[in-house]
Symmetry: C2
Subunit: 449 residues, 2 copies
């Protein structure tokens, strides 16, 4: 459903929900796809969400809705759901969605739901839950279609015919007698060879695979690079544990992009419009505290230079421009570095990148130092302030480029998400350094007056 | 190939390239996948890139390399390539990659290459090039596998067997007698029905499709929402023009995320480590110019308040903190809004979002206004400055939240990319407004002293 159609449907749902017109609402819900219902949820308030969800008649549809909504909406939807019903809906999900759903439950509910899942399925789920959520193991589905290498194309086709409609076959994975993944065959390949040909004869042997511990970003990169619809996950013995399908890869890419963007701005990643005011405030306050702390330190720095500031009031007028320009250069460098780290472009060229960025910072510093200095002379005929501003901009921009590049590179090496580097922490630090440079130079030049 | 292995391979390639060991380089290149060669390119300098590319023996491999590299690297690779060779390589590409490649050529080369493409293929390419690059038409491939609705499963399987190995079949699209798209069938469905069944009997009739004008972001959203491996593109008569495949969807999501992130920081999207210093500087300068212009205006504002600043020097010390805190709140609001606009979360709730964000801004303003005001009193016993800072922080943070939310919403409505809203333009504007509020309140309170 296109976005505009979805908006209309959401409006209709919302109107009906407000009027409490359950029967009419049920009709609209019945003719809406599960994926659209899930998409509609994010435009509805929690009570509306539950009202709509209550109108979903088929378990299979309700399961898809639950599996497709954002974690935030998921929590709202299941709030009043009895554990038995929850267990039924989870049982109707694919194993990887099931695991995700379980991970979003509080501990008590999770244990209660797990108790209601039996035998093999429970073992499977518990095994999947053992992997970290941001690894291949954490996002894989164990439903990989696998056949033995001596299986003929005829038998393979028969096997494909018997698979439940529920399961989508991306590729046919081929195993040897000790259950190692040795090849892969496409569905179409089965059709283009003689029925008596064995899979061994037609399979691609050079299978690209990952381990359960592979970071999800790396899995996404591999799937994207080779245009794979599913990436097989194997253990050390090369036995096939499951597959990460392309729809999960898309989710990963979206998630990681959103995470980086919000981290860069100093917002926690969980924030969505359905948060309460207090929650929203509490999630942003820590970042502002960093700015506050830095700002108070900076105010002390300025205080120390009160002598020079009072002797030349024009100096104060250029504080914002010096801070702003340097902050900008720092953010530019940091963002580019974060970006290029994410795409793998900087692999093995950290040193040259820092130097190149410093060069760019210096060039821009000279350009803008001259511009601002000239302005200062023309506007105020104040050569001392002009010189102080110019030198501060040159030095500060070069420093900002250095810090903006080096900090994310260092963070990456320490295993910290480099996106934090463009957030309030580094911005504030750069403000302090830039200002100190500016006022120190100014007091050197003007101190004698 | 995992990232660590790729790094090793890149190191080997680089060493061999430096030594000019062409024969050894040729061997390494021959045993590396085309996609890995493309990935390796971004770690190599342009001369190394061309040396490696020259060692690729098979046209099909060279075509995949060219189709997979970034636009930047593409330009480096084809720099010295004769037009005839380029035409041969482009002919070996999928039509959608061919179109992309042509769009990255300068006009002269493009015309020369197009002249070397003949007949139907040229028509196809020219038609594809008629669509805007960021629409479904611009990224679709015309290679959609289509059959008539009265075709039997038996005949359909025979048709599948005859398709060239080159082309991947995602779904079988079903057309009626006037070539309208009326249904879709999966490859596996062909196998699970009696050979004499017609496609009409087994197809899914409710086909999700887009038009060539649909924005690529919307296509990506649809593919992701419904877990589609390919999205059909139809014209107003519902005839099938082509498909957007999931690998292109992944590219779109990555591109849009990168674009947003860089726009937010005020960096042009094209920048990669292989730019020359001058290019890098020139791409960032426009954004800094905005900061410069804004900063100069702000310096004038401060100048106007010189009277109050000289009467109370503590005031100047709090300029950075007032600007920093408000800037932070503005960026937080703007980033969240950009993010929620991108995911479609804000559809039809613009008004309530602005009010909610202003509420959050106000709450944080009160919190930090009290904190900073108290600090000011304790540290300097200056009640006037304390009051001015506190009031300025409350007002400024609320304004910043308002501006940070309203500007991207307005931009979206005007058809401008809202990510620009968090860039230097708005940040600088917010600095100016915040500072004016601060100094105005201060001069009101302190003016009489």
């Amino acid at each position: 459903m296109a976005e505009s159609l979805l908006t209309q449907r959401v409006d209709a749902i919302r109107r009906l929900a407000r009027r409490g017109a359950a029967a009419a609402l049920g009709k609209v819900v019945a003719k809406t796809r599960a994926e659209d219902l899930a998409a509609a949820m994010m435009h509805l308030h929690p009570p509306e969400q539950r009202l709509v969800f209550g109108q979903v008649r088929e378990d299979s549809v309700a399961a898809v809705v639950l599996a497709s909504v954002d974690p935030q909406d998921f929590t709202h939807l299941i709030k009043d759901l009895p554990v038995d019903r929850l267990a039924v809906l989870l049982a109707a999900m694919d194993p990887d969605d099931q695991t995700d759903a379980l991970e979003h439950l509080d501990e008590e509910t999770r244990a209660a739901v797990l108790q209601r899942i039996h035998g093999e399925e429970r073992e499977q789920v518990e095994e999947l839950m053992g992997y970290r959520p941001d690894t291949a193991g954490g996002i894989m589905s164990p439903l990989a279609f696998r056949l033995s290498e001596d299986c003929t194309c005829r038998d393979a086709i028969a096997a494909v015919q018997e698979v439940s409609d529920h399961e989508q076959i991306y590729y046919i994975y081929v195993e040897n007698e000790v259950h190692q993944l040795v090849g892969v065959v496409s569905l179409r390949n089965l059709l283009t060879h003689a029925p008596s040909t064995t899979l061994n004869e037609i399979m691609i042997r050079d299978v690209i695979s990952v381990t359960p511990q592979t970071d999800q970003e790396e899995v996404a990169r591999i799937a994207g690079r080779y245009g794979m619809l599913a990436v097989p996950v194997v253990d050390e013995q090369r036995s096939l544990l499951g597959i990460v399908t392309v729809d999960d890869v898309i989710d990963v890419i979206r998630e990681e992009a959103a995470e980086d963007m919000l981290l860069m701005a100093g917002v926690s990643e969980q924030e969505t419009p359905n948060l309460t005011r207090t929650q929203a405030v509490l999630q942003r306050v820590p970042w502002l505290m960093i700015t506050l702390g830095g700002g108070l330190l900076i105010s002390e720095v300025i205080r120390r230079f009160n002598g020079v500031l009072s002797s030349d009031l024009i100096l104060a007028g250029f504080i914002p421009i010096v801070m702003g320009m340097e902050g900008n250069v720092g953010i530019q460098s940091a963002t580019l570095t974060v970006r290029n780290l994410a795409t793998g472009r900087l692999e093995g060229r950290a040193g040259s990148t820092v130097i190149a960025e410093m060069g760019t910072g210096l060039s821009m510093g000279v350009l803008f130092g001259v511009l601002i200095g000239t302005y200062c002379m023309v506007r105020y005929q104040d050569y001392h302030v002009a010189a102080a501003v110019a030198i501060a901009v040159v030095t500060g921009m070069t420093c900002a480029a250095l810090v903006g590049t080096a900090v994310p590179l260092t963070m990456k090496r320490l295993g910290i998400d480099p996106a934090i580097a463009t957030g309030p922490f580094v911005t504030t630090a750069m403000d302090g350094v830039g200002l100190t440079i500016y006022l120190s130079i100014a007091s050197l030049l003007l101190g004698g007056r």
